[in-house]
Amino acid sequence: MPDFAISTEHLTRRFGGLTAVDDIHLQVAAGQFFGFLGPNGAGKSTTIKMLTGLLAPSSGRIELLGLDFASHAVEVKRQIGVVPEGMGLFERLTGAEYLHFVGQMYGLDRATTQQRSAELLEFMQLAGRPKTLIADYSHGMQKKLALAAAVIHGPRILFLDEPFEGVDALAAGALKALLGRMTARGVTIFLTSHVLEIVERLCSHVAIIDKGRLVAQGSLEELRAGVAVGEAGSATLEQIFLSTVGQDGERQPQFEELTWLT
């Protein structure tokens, strides 16, 4: 059993003159519910794309489940599930057809694929519209389907890019419970979200990226310990986040310029 489910060394990605991800060392232990945070344009999506094989790093190394991604891409991909940015759905298939397709892409036999598809569609409350094309699904339904597709093969690592965006409260509650059970069984979940309350409630460990560099990493308790809150009590994730990336003067809101509004 490897020490870390996800491990990167000097992970860097440049787009021309812009360094979107700069020399990142990320370490996520197996079974962790890991939150990956950062302001807009900080490099979260670029990192998750590199970790899931959608983007090649400019330099550095990615190791998932003890395997080097570059040299064992197919083997690694077999053990991970992804809800990428934009969800990556084939919109001209029905939900069931898409899950069959994904199941077989991950090498499941037909009977297993069929059984798991039916169960997942039921769980995600998508079974009521079997003939509807994904193109005609609402955003929330597409998100639920993308989540179902990401877990159909029982991955050991799950990468989720804004998984609850657009999902109704009922389904979100069920999903959170499902993800909690998965981590209890040893699945590692790597999640990005702008909703800090969700991350705080679900994740045991967090990393914060800003301007391409990793500025904080550790358990919530470790991060809380590093933040001074005036009064007694522990800092919230929002306070941790703001104290880590919000100290930049440029990011402080200048209300005096909006007197006509405020």
């Binding site: 899931t52 094989g53 959608l54 983007l55 090649a56 197919v74 083997e75 690694v76 991909k77 077999r78 991970i80 992804v82 990428p84 934009g86 969800m87 990556g88 759905l89 084939f90 919109e91 001209r92 298939l93 069931a96 057809e97 069959h100 397709f101 994904v102 077989q104 892409m105 991950y106 090498g107 499941l108 036999d109 037909r110 069929q114 079974a127 009521g128 519209r129 079997p130 003939k131 094309l133 193109a135 005609d136 699904y137 609402s138 006509w260 509004l261």
Partner: protein, 549 residues
């Protein structure tokens, strides 16, 4: 705060929208492809200007003729020509081109009157409206030279006719927008459009055969067209020349009535849009009983593939069956074969009568069909959209993706070519056995050879296309160029080999040469798959970026 807000006037709002469109165009030029599009638009604009000017001279001459030769009643034909062009052309191109979404303006404080006038003003910016206006101006100029006395009335009628046309065109556009809001309608329309284009091919033969009867039918039809605006406009002018003032007044009133009625209907349509008409695609969920689904046990061919390739083949077949345009394009080749081979049928079957013998027509026809059907392979990820990411996150080598996609296209080719051969055999008869075999083997050579190049082109020059949508739907220019170039080369090689067979009087020589080339092409195809897999890894970012845009 709110007391500082002043709602701008209608003219200012029109100016603002014009400025917005200009900035959209200017910012679009930051992309290289859009800059190339602009060059294309300029060239097309120059061509259109020449065309409009040329036709304007025709209208000028036509008006001069009818006014000088005392055929004033014929002027209605000129109005009909303008009317049909103005109304039909925008309907035909409704799905093409970048249409400006007026409804997005509704979130701004825009009065209904301004919304109506902006809609009408932009109606005059349509190509057909510009052309129609130019032609009417040409008619007025001609009338001013030949019969100055008719000019005041003709100007008034022309003004009313312009207003009427632009109002009707906007009204039709608004109804079309309402219809096209639904994906299914767009797809059906696209299918009908393709079918109509196929039917156009038959106009020539039909006119040749039933020309006289059609002319008689058209003359009967003309009587029923009299109460419509173009006829009314024409009759007002001819009545004026015959000094039938009651007739002039009646026709003018008729035109006014049409203009008022259409304006009222357009006002109603725009009012509905202004109130926030719902054109949403998503319908309310309809409870459906889940049906137990059995996978077809006849899919034994797919079972022989890797699970990934099998899954992709199934997905491609689903996509094919749900793509009305692709399905209709499968009907196109047999229809073409029927059309081109029928002159060689029966008693008229004489070699070289049409410059091409039936024996040479068969390979030429098959080459043309392959050319039509294989072109989509040069941009084979066009419809994947965001789904392309799945191919890179799933545990598979990209060769499976190509294998599956090429297999589906090969099946389509086999199906369509079989139909075409059957149609050809029925209408013109099959060529000699050596030539038949040579053609079949040449197809294998051309298809296998092209698949390798087409796969490379799909990775290097991808372009996203959207199902059931015609707007902005163009293949990658480079992919089209490569497809043309490659097919010209393959056709050239094939022609040389076929003529070599004729020249050497060895009937089986082409079949033997094509067989050797086919083996080489098939081996080359399989050898290319691994390097293409590596290329896919290198090109994945550009591919994902293009298709997920």
């Amino acid at each position: 705060m709110a007391d500082l807000i002043r709602v701008p006037g209608v003219a200012a709002q029109i100016r603002l929208v014009a400025g917005l469109r200009w900035r959209i165009l200017r910012n679009g030029l930051r992309r290289k492809s859009n800059r190339l599009d602009l060059i294309g638009m300029i060239l097309a604009g120059i061509f259109a200007a020449f065309l409009i000017f040329g036709v304007s001279t025709g209208f000028f001459a036509g008006t001069r003729y009818v006014l000088t030769k005392d055929h004033a009643s014929w002027i209605a034909f000129l109005f009909w020509a303008i009317f049909l062009c103005w109304q039909v052309f925008p309907v035909l191109v409704a799905g093409f081109g970048a249409a400006f979404e007026f409804r997005t303006l509704l979130r701004f404080p825009l009065s209904l009157r301004a919304f109506y006038l902006i809609g009408l003003a932009y109606g005059f910016a349509e190509l057909s409206a510009v052309a129609g206006t130019c032609w009417i101006v040409a008619m007025l100029l001609s009338a001013a030279l030949v019969r100055p006395s008719v000019l005041p009335l003709m100007t008034a009628i022309a003004g009313l006719f312009l207003l009427l046309n632009v109002t009707l065109e906007r009204l039709l556009a608004s109804w079309i927008e309402r219809l096209f809001a639904r994906r299914r309608t767009r797809e059906v329309f696209l299918g009908l459009f393709v079918l109509a284009m196929i039917c156009v091919q038959f106009i020539g033969p039909l006119l040749n055969r039933y020309g006289e009867a059609l002319r008689r039918f058209a003359s009967h039809l003309l009587i029923y067209l009299a109460p419509f605006p173009p006829s009314l406009a024409g009759r007002a002018i001819s009545d004026f020349l015959q000094e039938d003032w009651a007739g002039v007044l009646g026709s003018f009133a008729g035109l006014l009535g049409f203009a008022a009625a259409l304006s009222f209907l357009l006002w109603l349509r725009f009012s509905a849009q202004y109130r926030g008409e719902e054109l949403s695609e998503t319908s309310a969920p309809v409870p459906q009983r889940p049906r137990a689904r059995q996978e077809s046990s006849g899919a034994f061919v797919l079972d022989r593939l890797s699970p990934q390739a099998g899954a992709i083949v199934r997905k491609e077949l689903c996509y094919l069956l749900r793509n009305g345009f692709a399905l209709l394009s499968l009907l196109f080749p047999p229809v073409l074969v029927l059309l081109f081979s029928s002159p060689f049928a029966g008693s008229r079957r004489e070699p070289f009568r049409h410059g091409l013998s039936p024996a040479m027509l068969f390979p030429a026809m098959m080459a043309y069909i392959v050319f039509i059907l294989i072109t989509p392979a040069y941009n084979c990820f066009a419809f994947e959209s965001r789904g392309i990411q799945t191919y890179f996150t799933a545990p598979l080598r990209f060769r499976h993706v190509f294998l599956a996609k090429n297999l589906v296209l090969a099946l389509v080719l086999i199906f369509d070519l079989s139909l075409c051969i059957a149609v050809f055999a029925f209408s013109a008869g099959l060529p000699s056995l050596p030539q038949f075999i040579a053609t079949l083997v040449a197809i294998v050579f051309a298809v296998a050879g092209q698949f390798a190049i087409a796969n490379w082109s799909s990775l290097c020059f991808p372009r996203k296309l959207v199902f059931g949508q015609m707007r902005n739907q163009r293949q990658s220019g480079m992919a089209v160029l490569i497809a043309f170039g490659v097919q010209i080369v393959f056709a050239g090689v094939g022609a040389v080999i076929l003529f070599a067979g004729r020249w050497t009087q060895d009937a089986w020589l082409p079949a033997e040469v094509f067989a050797m080339l086919s083996v080489a092409a098939v081996l080359g195809y399989f050898a290319s798959l691994d390097s293409l897999s590596e290329l896919a890894e290198r090109k994945k970012e550009a591919l994902i970026e293009t298709l997920c845009r």
